[in-house]
């Protein structure tokens, strides 16, 4: 089972344990398992926090295709059984992976309810809302609302998204996709009791109209996690992006490392010398929505240290920051802070590295 699924189960368990205490209820954590030859995952879901598992195991579900998966998940959400005391789920979590985000979109379009994306903090409580459409402007309390927090692109602001009924329509489930790594899984407990409900595979042939004819592995993906040294370029390079990237590349190579990028550099759309443009790729982005790296050395060049970036690198052994501003957040989570202009500091570092290596070479 994917790590993000274990994390979501753990968080769902914590949310519902608190919900049941706060509201004196006995509501459940329900896991949805689809695929082929995946029965063992249903049992694992229970051991990791689910009370109930809906399972559909069928050869047509071996690969994830949005149409059949969406239809079946919607059927599971709305199915009527004697044991069910509800019409629709209250809350719904999906992983914020490519497939998970696509699936969350189509499921919530099918269920006609609200969806927040890429959340990393969740809590359930009553909400006091004044909204011109939902409450005619007057304050009203909506009970048992899932508060879904997502960091914005800069990593400096959190939006809290709520899914709230309109005067005309009841919007449930309240749903979101969850950033991998945001929550902790529960330890596996084989003694946890739960129920597996087999949901029949019942779809018209029309829902299987997309065919997957083949797959191929990608060979030249960049894997930053395999390097001992990462030199990451941030928006501090803005005044001369080509020079900035080229200096960071040189420093990375001098130390046997590789180039990473902050999110700001990925979105800035700098005009670069053609030979350098290839280095601006999302594959090099480090942060919550990019790569997570734990190198021996992380050199953050012109990076302020927004939380969404920090999450991708704060486990590095040693963090060195180069920045003109000593008040930036990264000052509190680095080991060495070199105050200065990167365009002057990096050439000096490179020169000393060359001298140091010459010294080593002459000693050996």
């Amino acid at each position: 089972m994917a790590n993000v699924s274990l994390e979501m189960l753990g968080e769902a368990r914590r949310l519902m344990d608190k919900y049941n205490r706060d509201y004196s209820e006995q509501e459940s954590v329900v896991a949805v398992v689809l695929g082929h030859k995946v029965e063992h995952l249903a049992l694992e879901a229970i051991a990791r926090g689910a009370d109930i598992v809906y399972l559909t195991d069928h050869p047509e579900l071996e690969d994830l295709r949005l149409q059949p998966y969406t239809k079946i998940i919607a059927q599971m959400s709305l199915s009527k059984e004697a044991r069910k005391t509800y019409d629709k789920p209250r809350y719904f979590l999906f992983p914020a992976t490519n497939n998970g985000r696509d699936l969350s979109s189509t499921v919530l379009a099918e269920l006609e309810s609200g969806l927040a994306s890429d959340c990393n903090k969740l809590y359930i409580q009553d909400a006091n809302i004044s909204h011109r459409a939902k409450t005619d402007g007057t304050p009203r309390v909506f009970s048992r609302i899932l508060h879904m927090k997502r960091p914005d692109f800069s990593g400096y602001e959190w939006s809290t998204i709520l899914c709230i009924d309109s005067p005309k329509i009841d919007y449930h489930p309240q749903a979101c996709s969850v950033i991998p790594g945001s929550f902790k899984p529960l330890a596996q407990d084989p003694n946890r009791k739960g129920q597996v409900i087999r949901h029949p595979f019942n779809l018209p042939i029309e829902d299987l109209r997309l065919t997957i004819t083949g797959r191929e592995k990608l060979l030249n993906a960049i894997d930053l996690s395999s390097y001992n040294v990462i030199v990451a370029a941030g928006r501090g390079i803005s005044k001369n992006p080509s020079k900035g990237i080229s200096l960071c590349l040189e420093l990375a190579r001098a130390l046997g490392g590789e180039l990473g990028l902050s999110r700001g550099v990925c979105t800035a759309q700098y005009t670069l010398e053609p030979s350098l443009a290839q280095y601006i790729t999302e594959a090099r982005q480090i942060g919550e929505t990019g790569q997570t790296v734990k190198p021996k050395f992380y050199i953050a060049v012109g990076i302020s240290g927004a939380i969404q970036h920090k999450k991708g690198m704060d486990q590095a052994d040693r963090i060195i920051a180069i920045n003109t501003d000593t008040e930036v957040p990264i000052k509190d989570f680095c080991d060495v802070f070199i105050q200065g202009d990167l365009f002057e500091v990096i050439p000096k570092l490179l020169e000393q590295i060359k001298n140091g290596k010459k010294l080593e070479a002459s000693v050996n």
Binding site: I212, I320, D335, Q339, I353
Partner: protein, 277 residues
Amino acid sequence: MNYVVVTKGVPDFRHGKVVFKEDNTLNRAATPTVMNPNDFLALEAALEAKVKYGGTVHVISMGPPPYKKVLQEAMSRYADKLYLLSDPKFAAADTLATAEALSAAVRKIGNIDVIFSGFKTADGETGQTGPQTAWKMGYTLATHVMEFSIDPQLKKFNATRAITGEVEFTTGPLPVLVVTDPGFQSQYKNATQRLNLLDLQAQTKKRAQSFEEFLTIWNANDLGVDEWKVGIKGSPTIVDSVDPIPRAPSERKARMLIGTNLQHIQEAVQILLRSDQ
């Protein structure tokens, strides 16, 4: 063949255009509006389809009246016809309510074989609107598309999709909504196609100069939408608050060095080279 491209106006995040406040948050009012950069690829895919299979490219955007500039920008890449969905009733829409308005416009244009959409807007970044529009239209959905082709006779499409670490080859029936991956590449195989491409590009650039001749503006009445399904009324989700993310508590004690001090530089290099072993 008929194609629709859906596009959105977003803050211009390019260096030199974007304006940040002191706390590093976006100053939206001071930042100009441009077409969402990922939408360039949706337009490129639509142009490729027109080059190879002929037809008409309709570009739609939902926004206030000044956002017609976004459609002009789209036309400078490629468009035959432009549609701005503009009405106070459409404002403050989340992805579900946006998909509702876009679907209504696609139905009003009629007979659309392929809808092209870019992946994720630069501001909202949900990536939800394309898939939700496909679902409301009942179209086959292909996301993260790197390469795309159509068989107009068989009314089928082929799409190469990017999944993490691998590519997937898929085929299915039209009509389809294609979400182009940021790595999407158009493929031109022969001189005829390339010459056709150049002609179409020249024509659209000329059209863009007087783009308003090709622009239709539709409001909520024109689309016949249920007012409780679009805009702020039709959005299940609301942004309740925006708060600064608290700075993480201090985790490491930094050795502070001055970049102009040679000894400090040497100290830093000593640390870096020592670890090399």
